[in-house]
C-alpha cells in the first residue's frame, strides 16, 4: 500500500512540467515579444503570424496560464526577430530577382 502511494506521488510529481513558468517569467517574455514586434512594425517588416502569437500570449496571460503565455510570447519574439532579419536581408538580395 505504502509502495503504491509512493509510486502515485512520484508519478504525480513527474507529470508536472519540469520548469513551470512563473507569472514574472511570462510577463517578461510578453514584454520582450511586444518590444520585438514594435521593432518589426517600425521596420515595416511585421508578420501577421507574429501578431497572432502575440495575441495568444496576451490571452493566455490574462487567463493566468503562465506556461502558455510564455510559450506564445517566445514564439512571437522569434518570429518578430526573423521578420526583421528577412527585411534586412532583402535590402540587397531583391536585386537578384529583377527581370533584366
Amino acid at each position: 500500500m505504502i509502495r503504491a502511494i509512493i509510486l502515485a506521488a512520484g508519478l504525480a510529481f513527474l507529470s508536472q512540467p519540469a520548469f513551470a513558468a512563473t507569472q514574472a517569467e511570462a510577463e517578461a517574455a510578453l514584454a520582450a515579444a511586444q518590444a520585438a514586434e514594435s521593432e518589426a512594425i517600425a521596420a515595416k517588416a511585421a508578420w501577421t503570424s507574429t501578431e497572432t502569437a502575440l495575441s495568444n500570449a496576451r490571452k493566455a496571460f490574462a487567463a493566468a496560464k503562465w506556461d502558455e503565455a510564455k510559450a506564445a510570447a517566445d514564439e512571437a519574439t522569434a518570429q518578430a526577430k526573423l521578420s526583421v532579419e528577412q527585411s534586412n536581408e532583402q535590402k540587397t538580395v531583391w536585386r537578384n530577382a529583377v527581370i533584366r
Partner: protein, 313 residues
C-alpha cells in the same frame, strides 16, 4: 585605360626623384613597383565598385522594356491590349466565365454611385472636377503621379482625398466604398487610354520609382514571397483555386469588384490584401511604400490600356 593611367602615374612618380640619392637604387625601384601595384589595385576596385553601382541604378525605360518583353514572350498569344484583363487574358476557361459575368457587370451599381458623387458639389460649391486636369475626364491613366511640391507619389485616391480636404470635406476611406465608386467613374472615362506614367527629371521621383521596384521584388511576410514571386514567372498558373494575374497591366482594371470581397475595392485594397496573403502585416492604406509600388507597377504598364472598372474572382 586603367593600366595606361597607372603606367603614366608610375613613371611620373619614378621620374620625380631622379636627382635624389635613392633614385638609381634598387630599393627605390622596388618601392615604386609596389606602390604601382597598390595603386593599380585601388583604382581597379574603385572602377569595379562604380560599375556595380551603375548596374544597380534604375533606368526606368530599360526596366519597362525588359518587363514587358518578359510577358510578351511568356504569353505570345495574348494581345498587348488584353493584359489589363489579368487572369481572363491568360486562361481560356476563366475568360468564358468572365464574358458571362460581364453581361451584368457587378460594378455597375458602384459606377452609378460614382457618377452621382462626382456631380455632387462640395459644401463650398466646388466640384471634384475643379481639382483635376481636363475636369477629371480621361486622366486616370496618368496616375499615380510624382508631385514636386511634396516630393512624393500621389495616387488617384490620394488626389481625390486632397481635393476633398482642400475644399473643406473629410477624406474618404481610400480602399473601398465611395472612393472606389469615384475611381470607377474616373477609370471609365479613361477606358482604352494607355497608361502614361511619367517620371520627371527629379532625383526624388527616380528614388520613389526605385523604392517601388524594391518593394515589388522583395520577399515579405511569414511565407517569404514577393509580388514578383506570384505575378512574374508563375503568372497564369494556379495557386489553389486562383489563376495568378500577370504583373503587366495588373492595375489597369482598378478599381475592381472582387467576388471574394463581395464589394468594390481600389488598388490599395488589393495590394493590402496581397500583403495579408503573404502573412505580412499590411501597411497603412496611404503608406509611401504602397504608393511607390503603384508608381513602379503603373510605369511598367505604360502603353497598356485602362480597362477599369473591372471584376475579379
Amino acid at each position: 585605360m586603367v593600366p595606361r593611367n597607372l603606367k603614366s602615374a608610375f613613371y611620373l612618380v619614378g621620374e620625380a626623384r631622379p636627382g635624389s640619392a635613392a633614385a638609381p637604387g634598387r630599393a627605390w625601384r622596388h618601392w615604386c613597383s609596389r606602390s604601382a601595384i597598390a595603386l593599380n589595385l585601388v583604382c581597379t576596385l574603385l572602377l569595379v565598385s562604380a560599375a556595380a553601382k551603375a548596374a544597380d541604378k534604375s533606368e526606368p525605360e530599360t526596366d519597362r522594356k525588359a518587363f514587358q518583353a518578359f510577358f510578351f514572350a511568356k504569353f505570345p498569344h495574348v494581345a498587348k491590349d488584353d493584359f489589363g484583363n489579368g487572369p481572363y487574358a491568360v486562361n481560356e476557361a476563366m475568360r468564358k466565365q468572365w464574358k458571362e459575368i460581364m453581361e451584368f457587370p457587378p460594378y455597375e451599381i458602384a459606377l452609378d454611385e460614382g457618377h452621382a458623387e462626382w456631380e455632387k458639389p462640395f459644401a463650398n460649391g466646388k466640384h471634384y472636377a475643379d481639382c483635376f486636369d481636363n475636369k477629371g475626364e480621361g486622366v486616370r491613366q496618368t496616375y499615380p503621379r510624382f508631385v514636386a511640391e511634396t516630393g512624393q507619389v500621389e495616387t488617384l485616391e490620394g488626389a481625390i482625398n486632397r481635393c476633398r480636404v482642400e475644399n473643406g470635406e473629410k477624406p474618404l476611406d481610400p480602399m473601398t466604398g465611395t472612393m472606389a465608386s469615384l475611381t470607377a467613374a474616373m477609370a471609365e472615362s479613361s477606358r482604352g487610354k494607355p497608361f502614361a506614367i511619367t517620371i520627371p527629371d527629379d532625383p526624388r521621383a527616380l528614388a520613389a520609382y526605385e523604392r517601388g521596384k524594391e518593394f515589388f521584388y522583395s520577399r515579405k511576410g511569414q511565407l517569404g514571397v514577393s509580388c514578383a514571386s506570384c505575378h512574374m514567372s508563375p503568372a497564369g498558373e494556379r495557386m489553389r483555386g486562383d489563376i495568378l494575374a500577370p504583373a503587366l497591366g495588373i492595375l489597369a482594371a482598378m478599381p475592381i469588384y472582387r467576388s471574394d470581397w463581395g464589394s468594390m475595392g481600389t488598388s490599395i485594397r488589393r495590394i493590402s490584401t496581397c500583403s495579408s496573403q503573404t502573412r505580412a502585416l499590411p501597411l497603412k492604406a496611404d503608406d509611401e511604400d504602397y504608393r511607390n509600388l503603384e508608381y513602379f507597377l503603373s510605369y511598367m504598364s505604360n502603353g497598356i490600356p485602362i480597362v477599369g472598372p473591372g471584376t475579379r474572382p
